[in-house]
Amino acid sequence: MVDVMESPKVRINASMLAQFIDQPVCFVGRLEKIHPTGKMFILSDGEGKNGTIELMEPLDEEISGIVEVVGRVTAKATIMCASYVQFKEDNHPFDLGLYNEAVKITHEFPQFFPLGVVQYG
């Protein structure tokens, strides 16, 4: 099992989930809902579309605002979360729309923002 944390992770938005099944990805979105079990939450991306994030263990803290999730895309096009980071928005609100544009640009020009090759074994 390749360690997601050491692999390169593609930055994606919700529309791209289906194209990256089984690959390590990085998803940034605004927290919309947390499932009562605490093992699943929903983030909305810069285009307003939702991505479902699943956890191995339930959340042990309150999360809110913008969250960056690192994990692997499941066959159901959800993300199995390996780790997450909350973005500080105390001083400046995060422009999710602009981030979405940046993600699309990195996919349009992969030669100028290259992603590493996934190492196996």
């Binding site: 050491e6 692999s7 390169p8 992770k9 930055r11 990085c26 913008i66 690192v70 980071v85 973005f87 500080k88 928005e89 001083n91 400046h92 995060f94 422009d95 602009l98 981030y99 940046a102 993600v103 640009i105 990195t106 020009f109 030669q111 100028f112 923002f113 290259p114 992603l115 590493g116």
Partner: protein, 259 residues
């Protein structure tokens, strides 16, 4: 420093001092003309990159190349995954998701080391400006500046700046010029008599044809070109002075043609 404009990315020029001249610069427009002469000097540029570009760069004789472009001073933005202190340096591992984390070394003077170094927290995004180095085939950064991001939008702009900078450098390296998008307003102006070029030609012509020794006065120009505003005429005069077509004579209000 984090928001470099890359509009003219081929070389960052420094404003040089005034070019030596025998005429004492008079006030106003002439003084502006001398100050605006620029020199191109070899200033080291800081190139925004992603970690993968740094780790996959080729290195020959301590010269690092990314896609055929020489890089030395770079900036990256990523999460601090690890922070450790050693005797006179701090070692961080920065991860921007494009590949495995890169080692980043911040040298600390022995005095400061004795006082105790405050480590930056792990798990937060930071911006690093550093110099690319390679030792035992492992590439790392020597830190010039490292700081935690207070505004996460800087992280987005770093991604945009990286793609932009590498695109421009790529085009410059392959010899193409960066296409300049002409606005619609320029197109409309081209066909009207109020286009700056046309006005400048008129102003220059009137100054050139003036037989007086002290040259043409701005007042006369305003009278003769009554359909143009004072501001427009002044702009034309400034342009012609900077380009060297005219020069001031007795005061800042009289000009002669240099041709």
């Amino acid at each position: 420093m984090s928001k470099n404009g890359f509009g003219s990315y081929g070389g960052i020029s420094a404003a040089g001092g005034a070019v030596g001249s025998n005429d004492p610069p008079s006030q106003g427009r002439a003084a502006l003309a001398f100050k605006s002469i620029r020199y191109r000097s070899r200033i080291q540029e800081i190139i925004p990159c992603c970690v993968n570009q740094l780790l996959t760069s080729t290195v020959i004789d301590n010269v690092f190349m990314i896609r055929g472009i020489e890089v030395s001073q770079v900036s990256i933005v990523g999460i601090i995954r690890q922070a450790e202190t050693a005797e006179n340096y701090v070692l961080y591992k920065i991860d921007d998701m494009t590949t495995k984390p890169i080692k980043v070394r911040q040298w600390v003077g022995r005095d400061r080391a004795k006082q105790g170094i405050t480590l930056l927290p792990v798990g937060v995004y930071a911006k690093v400006l550093g110099i690319l180095t390679c030792s035992a085939e492992v590439k790392s950064l020597e830190v010039l500046k490292i700081r935690v991001l207070e505004d996460m939008n800087e992280f987005t702009t770093h991604i945009l700046e990286t793609v932009n900078a590498h695109m421009i450098l790529d085009k410059a390296a392959s010899g193409q010029s960066v296409p300049v998008v002409s606005s619609e307003m320029d197109e409309a102006q081209m066909h009207s008599e109020y286009h700056p070029d046309f006005i400048r030609k008129e102003v220059l012509r009137l100054i050139h044809e003036c037989p007086q020794q002290e040259g043409k006065s701005v007042c006369e120009l305003q009278t003769e070109l009554s359909n143009l505003s004072i501001g427009t005429i002044n702009q034309a005069i400034e342009y012609l002075t900077v380009e060297g077509h005219i020069y001031p004579t007795v005061d800042g209000e009289h000009f002669k043609s240099a041709d």
